[in-house]
């Protein structure tokens, strides 16, 4: 097994100790940071996403795998900056105005990072205007909106309208959360719907990364 495969496996195994050690070893061996990230860590997180989507992994495994990846990515950051490597695409994520739920949104952020996105997390109770401003401050490929309450679902529509009205070329807009359905997503003009965090990230990858590259 190559060092990159071993790194991927450490992430899949939720091995927080081994993953950063292996990344250090790969750097010492002279592998480019971007290659370690793309062919090691992200491959591992993609597999974690698949296992989560298919019901083999649950939230604890995803959280620890994400920690393994985070600790490893910290080691890569200075090298990536030096090499001028940027994330393949940028995602802005938040729970819509009126809603304070954050666990589902955090899981999606983890999965998006694992899929190679740079993630700008606006937090919870985010106004449409804040989403618009975040998209105006940088090139954004994806906006991911979360809501857990039936009462805050209409705020998704208001946010989508604000984004489409304010931005000449609106990004891909995905929605998700407990009360959200595919039908609702279509009704409010979203680009797509993520049934769960892993499916949302997979869809984001399909819709954004090809476009961005």
């Amino acid at each position: 097994m190559s060092i990159l495969e071993t790194i991927a496996q450490a992430v899949i195994n939720c091995d927080e100790e081994q993953a950063p050690k292996l990344v250090e070893q790969a750097l010492t061996e002279g592998l480019p940071a971007a290659q370690i990230l793309n062919e090691g860590l992200l491959v591992g997180m993609t597999e974690v996403g698949r296992l989560f989507r298919e019901g083999e992994y649950f939230v604890p495994e995803v959280l620890i795998a994400a920690e393994a990846m985070k600790a490893s990515t910290e080691l890569l950051k200075p090298h990536l900056a030096k090499d001028g490597v940027k994330p393949a695409a940028t995602a802005v994520i938040g729970t819509v105005k009126g809603d304070l739920h954050d666990i589902g949104k955090n899981l999606v952020a983890i999965m998006l990072e694992g899929a190679g996105f740079g993630v700008v997390d606006l937090g919870v109770d985010v106004t449409p205007q804040k989403f618009v401003e975040a998209c105006q401050q940088q090139p954004v490929h994806l906006v991911a909106l979360s809501a857990l309450l039936t009462t805050t679902m209409p705020m998704m529509e208001a946010t989508i309208k604000a984004l489409r009205d304010a931005l000449p070329t609106p990004p891909v807009i995905l929605v998700g959360g407990a009360p959200i359905t595919d039908g609702f997503a279509k009704t409010i003009g979203a680009s797509g719907y993520g049934r769960d965090a892993a499916s949302g990230a997979e869809l984001a990858k399909q819709m954004c990364l090809k476009k961005a590259s």
């Binding site: 939720c14 019901g55 939230v59 959280l63 620890i64 739920h101 666990i103 009462t151």
Partner: protein, 373 residues
């Protein structure tokens, strides 16, 4: 048949005269319904026995107004201390509190809902070790002024009175938060077992304390949201390792006294239903439709060993479309009634948007279709 007999029989999958009823409402809905219904009864009597977090006067009075078969009592407080929360920040809409579990949570001021989890003060085994001694049984953990009147009135009406409380997952997420708790399943299982064991001991002690005070209940209604829309937070393997032993120990205490256990968890708990049955759960609630829970599938599968309390889809009710509501209620009632295993309850809490007219239509359908001929 009294409410007490009716619910007890359904929890044992035995024939009844009609489907028993119980429900919860969002605060906003309860306020709206109550305003529309006018004075339900003597407000002074209501005020004397309500006013706390779990027993808002609105929920209380609606349960009684609609003559539901189940009543809940006790609701012990399992926080580390019983002190008032400290206000850290606030706006017109929300308030950031540091609560008695040292958790910093942002709550809406004027509406219900889960708070934002800003920070949890107890996030390491060392910090836990410093505070676990605070988890001791105390009469102060139950709001007797609130619950005694409710208990006595329910007993007088021969309702099925449930000792209501949270279980470990629900207690521990309040002190550690979901992320720390779930990560500990992999990072520090020994610590998590200690936390779960400590809370289970306290939960049993509080049940015994209530019983010793004379609060003798017919069943237990235990709350523990351990799932979300697409499945349980933890795998069945982790459930068996971390929850099952403590659930079993807790639920055995109720069964020893002949009290069936109704277990509440939002979300899709289907992967752990067989383990919940083994742990001693007699009925599940509220069977969230949007999470894929469907009594029409579950009753044929588990209806000989498990009862179902809920599953009337609130998203259907909020359409206020009588045809859709009729289909929702009639098909689910039929599935549950076929196995004598069904108690009416919405699949969450009745949200704002369900009109009183629609709600009364649901109750009318229960009268018409929920009666065994």
């Amino acid at each position: 048949m009294t409410s007490r007999e009716r619910v007890a029989r359904i929890l044992a999958r035995q024939p009844v005269d009609r489907v028993p009823r119980f429900d919860w409402y969002w605060d906003e809905t309860a306020v709206e319904f109550k305003a529309a219904l006018g004075p339900l009864y003597d407000d002074k009597a209501a005020a004397a026995c309500t006013g706390g977090k779990f027993g808002s006067v609105d929920n209380y009075t609606l349960w009684e107004y609609y003559d539901f078969d189940i009543s809940q009592t006790a609701w012990p407080d399992f926080r580390l201390t019983l002190t008032k929360p400290e206000i850290l920040d606030e706006s017109d809409e929300w308030v950031l509190l540091r609560d008695a579990n040292f958790a910093e949570l942002r709550w809406w001021k004027h509406k219900m809902g889960t708070p934002e989890h800003v920070r949890f003060g107890i996030d390491t085994p060392e910090k836990w070790a410093e505070v676990k001694h605070l988890l001791t049984p105390s009469k102060d953990r139950i709001r007797w002024d609130e619950f005694w009147p409710r208990y006595h009135r329910a007993k007088a009406r021969d309702r099925f009175v449930c000792y209501a409380a949270v279980e470990i997952f629900e207690s521990v997420k309040d002190i550690l938060g979901h992320e720390i708790m779930l990560k500990a399943m992999i990072r520090n299982p020994k610590w998590l077992h200690d936390v779960f064991d400590t809370y289970t001991t306290l939960q049993i002690q509080m049940f015994e304390l209530a019983e010793a005070e004379g609060m003798v209940c017919d069943g237990a209604f235990i709350y523990g949201d351990m799932a979300y829309k697409t499945g349980p937070f933890m795998s069945p393997r982790h459930y068996r390792e971390f929850s099952y032993p403590y659930h079993k120990r807790y639920f055995d205490e109720f069964h020893k006294r002949g009290m069936p256990v109704l277990f509440h968890s939002d979300g899709d708990i289907r992967p752990v239903i067989p383990d919940l049955i083994k742990a001693g759960v007699d009925a599940i609630n509220p069977l969230e439709s949007r999470a894929g829970m469907d009594v029409r599938e579950l009753a044929p599968q588990y209806g000989d060993q498990l009862s179902f309390c809920g599953n009337i889809d609130v998203t259907v009710l909020t359409t206020n479309d009588r045809e859709k509501v009729y289909h929702e209620v009639s098909t689910k009632l039929a599935a549950g009634m076929a196995k004598n295993c069904y108690i009416y309850h919405s699949d969450h809490s009745i949200p704002p948007g369900v009109t009183l007219d629609t709600y009364h239509y649901v109750l009318q359908l229960l009268d018409e279709l929920g009666t065994h001929k």
